[in-house]
Structures are given as C-alpha cells and as structure tokens.
Symmetry: C2
Subunit: 575 residues, 2 copies
C-alpha cells in the first residue's frame, strides 16, 4: 500500500533540500523515516545525492560533521523517531561550536503518538535546545498547494539559515503517519521556487581603515592565526604579513602550515609560557584571525599582554576567553587583508629577524626529535603530501601543534576543536575521507578516543573508504599524566589512566583493516610511503610514563634553544 499525498509531500522536501545544494546525506535506518529514506535513494539513483548509511546515529552525526568540515557545504542527517535522534546530540553541539551547517532531519511519530505512552516516541520538540540555530516543526504530510509551498519555502529557508553567518546546525522535525510507503514512480524534474540570497560582505569604512592603518603600520605586529575552515579563508594573511614583516603564530588548524613560509611560527608554546623574556621580539599589537587556537599557553600569554589585541571576527561572536580583545573587526580576513595591504609599512627589520631566528632554531630541534609520540607529527609533516589529515583531541592535537612543521605538502589538517571531545573522532575522520577528493587520508588518534568511536570504523568497511589510522597506543589517557592528579598515585590508574588493554590488531581484523605495528621511526616512515588503498591501521605502541618524561625533557631542551637565540640577539644589538 502506498500513500500518494505522502509521496508528493516528502518529494517536495527532498526537492527543497536539493535546491539548497545539499549533496551528502547520511541515513540511519529505522521505520518512521521509511518514506524519506526510500525517496532519497530513489532520487540518488538520478545522481541527486550521495547516500551513506550508518547504523549508529552517534557515529553518523560525526561522519556528517566530518564531511561538512571538508566540503564547507551543508550535510543532511536523517533518522527515525526516538532516542536515535538523541544520539546526534554530541555532533550537533560540536557543529554549533565550530559553525558547521549540519542539517538534522528527524522523523517523528504524529502528535497522537507522542507523550502518551506510545513506543518509539520521545518529545522531539526543541530536542537540541539552544544548540541549534533553528528548530522547525514541519506539518503532517498533505498534498494541498498551500502546504507544499510552505514546506518548500521553510525547508529552504532553514538550510539557508544554517549557512548564513554565523553558520551552524539546524533541526527539522518531520511527523509522519502510517502508512509509510511512498510511491516509487519515476522522479520528476524538481521545480520548487528556489530561494537564494546573493552574497553580501561587510567592509571597513574609509575612516575605520585609516584609524586601523595607523595602529598597525610600521608596528611590531604579531599575527595570531587560529583554526580556519580552509586555506582560502586566511589566504590574504600571508601577503599582509610579508608586507608588514609580521610573524604569524600559525595554529596547526589555520591551514597556513600548508606552505613552508618563513614568517610562520610554530614554537609558540615554548616562547609564551612565561619562562622566556621575549625582549626585542615582544610585539606591540596582536592581530587575531580564526577561532580559538589550540595552544592554551598563547591564550594565557594574551591575558598578560599589555599591548593592543585586535580580533578579526566575522561571526561577531567575541569568543575570546582570554578577555584581551579591545578592537573587534567584523569583516572577513580576506576583505581586511586586501584593504590593509596597500596601506601598511613594515615593522623594524630586527623584530622579524629575531622571530625567524627563533623559529629556525626551533624547527632544527624538532626535526631531530626521537621521542616515540612526539616524533609522529614530525614524520607526518615530512612524509605526507596532498593529504587530508584528521587529528584527535587530547594529546595528538597538542603534539601536532608543537611538532608538525610547515611544509609545501599541501596537507589539510582538521580537528573537532569546538568542544574538544574525544567522542566521534573516528567518524569525523572517515566523513572527511569520504569527500576529501584524495585517497591520502590520515587520522592520528590515541587509544581511548579510538575506542570511544570504534563503531565509526564500520563506515570504512561499508563504504570502502581509503584512510590510514595511526593509533598511538599508550593504553589509557596519556594527557592526565601531565596534570596534578598524577600525584594521587592510588587513584590515578582506575580514574584517569583507565587502561582498556585494547587489542588493536583484533579491532583491525574485525573491520577488515590492514594492520601494521610501528615500533621505530623507520617503520612509520615506510608505512607512510604507501598511499592508502582501503582501511589501514598503524599501531604505535607507547608508554605513558616514558612519554611524560620525554615531553618534559623536550620542553626543557627547546626552552634552552630559544633562550640561546634570544641571548645571542640581546648581546648583539647591532645585528
């Protein structure tokens, strides 16, 4: 038995979704979502959409997030009624904090079957609270012209809202009555009235630009480049920095380390922890781009910085927990840099020279690192090219911040730096791999985060994704060894270390992955010479205690190197 009104109505929604440029769709199977799933696949046969099917909705949410991060386009999630939808919550929150246009379409039982004891029904109204930009309760299916026009308009408008500045996730809730079988007749050409909003952009007034120029021109400016969506987003920053001879603290997620530029600074955690006096390297002004940087040290330094801090903040969020911003520039980096480029004069030569000397010495030391975990990003930055790299939260992203060196490999680096969770990392990386356009996909992850989203591996198997996962296995939560609770010895292992004794080889077997074990730098280098042809898991065994010691020694050694450079400059003032 099919249901013609249902078919027209659901097809209208699908046409509206297509009209707004949604191409990637992740479906989690269920009964209530039947007409949407069937009609989507029916449409997909006509090349409208790429469909992915993920049984675990938590993983599905992060898989979609990974796709959106990579394509910068909205991705649609679809699930059935009930707790299925609640499993999306972590990914929805991460999407909100990182401004990703995730479109969540939950199907629901009709009013007469919710909140009244019926099964598979939860209250889906405002399910994600204020963690979405918009919640829309769609009407029950009907094929009258008023309903169809309203639904087409409202679905399009909601997807547009997700993509408007500041971008973010949206939630559409669709109640459906039985019978749920649509008519799978040939699909007509979609002909909704499409909605578009031609791009607008904010620009600085001439007066504002002139004031700003005065603040920056010829000054010791330090550019702080935080996480960015793509290389394009901060593209103008490099040119501006060269004009002003301004060093750039390049966050690993700024996408600026895709170029081996001599103004990029990566040793910031060593330089800004208060142990070192910057001397003539001390900036007058900090010009911030992008989201919150990975480095907590830089944020702490900003809190003590007495010069002016200017935040380029097109989202108008003032999301600055260093509380140091004084000037908010609500324009995009591209517009700002283009406007400033002809205006600014360079900083004193010596300022830039010191920074470059510091960075050169830092990189030289980093290239020589032998410590098991710390050398992994060094090897990756040395070996990988034209790759999409996903990095887990906790220790991996910190190690990448410190030790992944800028190079001309054009490697994009992604991480879930909204809530910084260790949940959903595998799925996010696989979502990236599904749409990155390259077989060179990599994930760097610790054993706990790997375990947390192990279910996510199923998508690699089911969709034949090409990705190499480097699992740093120190059997537990490595980051806690750096925190004060490490002193509470009797309680540490059960509460924080939490060794799971995960057998990574057996996990690899379970998901049909090629398994490798890299105990030496040479092992890892040789494995990274191969382009991924499917799912490959490289286990790097490590030891938490040894790693803590190695990191501390490394930090001491790098401090010494930096201090030597600064001392050299301070004793040779004429340099």
């Amino acid at each position: 038995m099919t249901n013609e009104g249902l078919t027209t109505y659901v097809q209208t929604i699908i046409d509206a979704i297509a009209a707004q440029g949604v191409k990637q769709i992740v479906i989690s199977p269920g009964s209530r979502s039947t007409p949407v799933a069937l009609l989507l696949m029916h449409n997909a046969g006509h090349d409208q959409f790429s469909l992915y099917v993920d049984v675990d909705e938590r993983s599905a949410g992060f898989f979609a997030l990974g796709m959106t991060k990579t394509t910068h386009e909205p991705t649609l999630l679809i699930c059935t009624s009930g707790t299925a939808a609640a499993n999306y919550y972590p990914a929805v929150i991460e999407a909100q904090l990182t401004h990703q246009p995730l479109i969540v379409l939950t199907t629901d039982r009709p009013a007469e079957l919710t909140n009244i004891g019926a099964p598979q029904a939860i209250d889906q109204d405002q399910l994600y609270g204020n963690h979405v930009k918009t919640f829309v309760q769609l009407p029950l299916p009907a094929a009258d012209d008023t309903t169809l026009r309203y639904v087409s308009f409202n679905v399009q408008r909601t997807i547009m809202a997700a993509q408007a500045t500041a971008r973010g996730p949206v939630h559409l809730n669709l109640p459906l009555r039985k019978p749920l079988m649509p008519d799978l007749a040939p699909v007509n050409e979609p002909h909704p009235k499409t909605l578009t909003a031609p791009v607008t952009q904010a620009v600085l007034t001439a007066a504002a630009l002139s004031q700003l120029t005065a603040r920056l021109s010829g000054k010791r400016v330090l550019i702080l480049a935080g996480p960015a969506e793509s290389k394009d987003e901060l593209a103008g920053v490099l040119a501006l920095a060269h004009k002003g001879r301004w060093p750039i603290l390049a966050d690993p997620l700024s996408q600026l380390r895709q170029t081996d530029d001599d103004l990029l600074i990566t040793g910031s955690d060593i330089l800004f922890d208060g142990a070192i006096t910057l001397g003539d390297a001390q900036p007058d002004v900090v010009l911030r781009f992008g989201a919150t940087p990975v480095s907590a040290t830089v944020i702490q330094w900003l809190q003590t910085f007495t010069g002016q801090v200017i935040l380029v903040d097109p989202n108008q969020a003032l999301a600055d927990h260093s509380l140091s911003t004084q000037i908010q520039l609500t324009v995009t980096p591209a517009i700002l840099c283009q406007a400033l480029l002809p205006q600014v004069l360079p900083a004193p030569a010596r300022y830039c020279q010191i920074w470059q000397a510091l960075e050169a010495a830092y990189r030289q030391s980093v290239r020589a690192i032998q410590a098991t975990e710390a050398r992994i990003p060094v090897i990756m930055s040395n070996k990988l090219q034209d790759s999409a790299i996903f990095v887990s939260n906790s220790m991996p992203i910190r190690d990448v911040d410190h030790f992944y060196l800028p190079n001309n490999g054009h490697n994009r680096i992604y991480c879930n730096r909204g809530a910084n969770g260790i949940d959903g990392v595998v799925s996010s990386a696989l979502g990236m791999a599904a749409v990155s356009g390259t077989p060179n996909n990599y994930l760097l992850i610790g054993d706990l985060a790997f375990f947390h989203d192990m279910n996510g591996l199923m998508m690699a198997k089911r969709h034949a994704l090409k990705v190499t996962i480097i699992v740093v296995n120190n059997n537990g939560g490595g980051i806690f060894s750096f925190l004060p609770q490490a002193a509470a010895k009797d309680y540490f292992e059960p509460l924080f270390g939490t060794p799971q004794d995960l057998d990574v080889a057996t996990v690899s077997k379970l998901y049909g992955a090629q398994y490798e074990r890299a105990t030496t730098a040479e092992d890892l280098q040789s494995y990274l010479n191969e382009t991924p042809t499917g799912l490959r898991i490289i286990e790097v065994p490590s030891d938490r205690e040894e790693n803590t010691q190695q990191h501390r020694q490394l930090s001491d050694a790098l401090h010494k190197v930096m201090e030597d450079v600064l001392e050299n400059y301070n004793t040779n003032k004429s340099n």
Copy 2:
C-alpha cells in the same frame, strides 16, 4: 597543590549523595570532574559507594540505567565538561520515559570559560531540556556555612525529587575552577542534616471503592498487566485475579511470568489481531496495570474495544495511546488489589475456562516450536532459573512476548521499553548484571543492537561481570522484513536490511569473552545449562528471509489452534 575550600564543598555534595542512599556510581574519566572522582573513590574506600568507570559516556548512561532498573534505587552518573555530557542524552530520555531515578552530575567550567570561546566547554544549562524532572545549577565551590548548607539541602532535595512519584532523571551541573586537586585527607563521618520524606500513599475512598466493586464484581474482567518494576509491584494482582477468575494478559515485562500460574495468558497477539472472534471469551471490562504493553496488537484491540477500560495509574500520566481509558485509578496496584480482594465475586466459570483452554493449547504449540529464532525464548523459559534476563528491543522482545512461557524459574525480565531504542542495550544488560545479585545474567539481542553498543562490552571485561549474551545473528535488521518496505526490493538491503557482516567470534576475542556458536536447539540448551562465570557470547546464526517465513507459518498455525479451541467451545455451549 590542593584546594581546601574545594574539598569541603565537594565532600559536602558527596555526603548529601550518600545521605540519600545512592550506592552505585558510574564515572567517566575527564579532567574537570577530577575533585569529584577523586573524593568519591576516597570515600568508596570506606565502603560508601560502589564505583564503576566507563570511558564511553553513552554506554555509561545505559549501564547506570540498567543498575537502577534492577535495584530500584537511584544511580549516579558523573562526567567532565563538554560533549561527554551530551552522550548521556539517550539514556536520560529512556530513564524519563520509564521513570528511572538517574542522577546525572555533570561537571562544568566556570561561567568565565563557557560560551566565550574556551575549549571543552559547551552550554550545559538545561542540557537535557524537558527530559529531566529537575535541572539544578550548583554554585561555584565555597566553604562558607550558607553555601554548604544550601548545597547539601539542594542536592538531597533533587535526589529525593528523582525518587518521588512519578520518578525520573534529574540533572545537577557543577561548575569548578582550577586548581582541581582536592585534599585527600581521612574522610570524616558524614554529618549533613539528612532530609527524608516518610512514605505516603493514596487510597480509594469508600464510595469510590464501592462504585468500582460494582463495575467489576461478577463481571468478565480481563486484566492487562503491562511492564512493571519488580515482582512486588504487581504482587496483589494474582490474588485478585484468582478471586475473580479473571485471566491476565501477562506482558513479558510484567514480572508475572515468574510464576506458572494458570490464569496467565501469553497468546494475546494471536487472539487480538482481529482475525479471531472471541465469542464467550470476550471481556466486559479491561483492568490495566503497569506501563504500555509490548504487544501492539493488544493496543490496537483496545482501540476497538467497546467495554469499559480502567487504568491503574499511580504516576497520574494517563499514558494510554489507545485512548481507550475511561477510568483512571491513581493508586498503586498493591493498594487497589488489597482493597478489592474481599469485595469482588467471580466471573461466570465458562469465561475463565475458555481462556484457560486457549492458553493451554497455545503453550502446547509453543513448546513444539522448531523455528530458529522463535524457539530461543522457549528454550530460555524452559532452561533458565533464578536469572536476570535483559531483552533487546526490536525482534527479541517481540519473540519473548510471544514465546517465553510462564514458569516457576523466578526469572526477572528487563527491557528498555520507554523509547524502545536499540541503543545502549548491551550496557543496560551489563548494568543489570553488576547488581542483580546472581551470576545467572542473560542478554538476548540481535546483531544490529549488539553492534550499536559494542563498546558497552568493555565494562564486562573491566569489572569481571558474569553474563551470557545470546546474539541472534541474521546479519541485519530482521524486523524490517515484516514491514511494507520489504516490497521495495531494490532499496531494501542498503536502507533497511543493512547487513554489517559482523564477525561475532572476533568481537568475543576483542573483549576476552568465551565464544560459542549454537546452530541447533540442543546446542543452545546445553550452553544454557552452564552458569555464567564471566562474559560468554553465544551466536545463534539465522537467516532473515527464512525467519520471516517461519514467523508467518507459526502465526498461521497458532491462529488455527486458537480457532479450533474456540470452535470447540462454541459448538459445546454446555461445557
């Protein structure tokens, strides 16, 4: 560096938790929750609490839910800030719908680090929306008397609210500033002012009882016993039924199938699907106890039932999506049954005799079942004794409803019948096993639900739980083969069948489980002779198409059996 004000404050919260009788605690590791975790473990050393540590918060939520279902006591969940807390959402919603007093204590960053770009911070205010009974934002730690008294009172009051009718989950959000290390000095005897609320109970007035007696006494009453918390909850129902000679449609979760009583009816899905005319078995009145029954057929029949429906509804929720209730009795089953017992006269003898004849014939046929999946509950009801059995949603609970026969084995049966999700089932079962007080713990689950919460198995390994898991592996979503979408052949397997090709033997190896494969009834019988000594996984291979056919044939055969009994009674009116 320790923090004495912090220690006093957090210890006050812990004392308040202990004062309200919370014994089971599930911690997920993280940094922000450090003082709570450390002090809890410090207290646990003094036998205050049983602590469980689960890395995956989604699993942790369901593990706690399983414990609460089994102990009928509140269970505490603790996690760090960020998306960790969002992972609890599915379990929180299930707890709400099944009235389980889950106490969620999320730790949080202080105000100056939320909603302002700081990492590991999400907006945790009202995180679970209206899916908890109460949300409490606790103040920042302080050791002044006013704060300590307020926090002690408010934490106790919140835990009491979770346990007051209608019970449900509550959320405490605790912001903490660094430094996070508490003082781990000897624990003092807790001495909060404890809060208690002596139990009250609603009773029927004499007039209401007399009216109700008139409606029931001597009438053809059909008792519908839905899911109940424990055997005690519906204990009075059996005695009342015997007095009135009233058959009881005993839901598998009513806990009534723990007794081989000759008034229990299990063949209701066959009798109520409209294909059979009940004749003299037709009741005048339906008296409902417990939550929504597993059987959708019974609900559909209630919608067409023209007699009176009385709902015993101590939660005062009127959660009746059959919309058939006319009389709501806001008393507990025990009070109602005790009050009615001396009053009611039996129904006509013939009414009860027909029902007993129908059930005897039904059970005889069920005992002879050979179909691969359908025979599993038959074997379980035959073999298991003094066991705690968790049943997954989707096909397993339906099969248990149909084919798990009442017996004197004293087996408790649990299932997540709030939102009926297939998420968190493994963890719920392991939570049950952790506190059931018996090594005889069982889980019956399909391969998709098993996969969905595979991470949950880690708790069996880490806490050496004794449980046997029967995985019915038909490689995909078996239930969809019974739905109309099975006709959409081209789309069915990718969207609904969704075979995951899960290698259950390798999963068993990963978690150190003993693995068995049961291809015959004898295999399964012999495996069920052994008491679980650890984690054991029994895979029962099945085939979805064959299973659909077998269920249809079985249904036809059972209809025939029921019709024959009724025909016999109708042609022998003098019986």
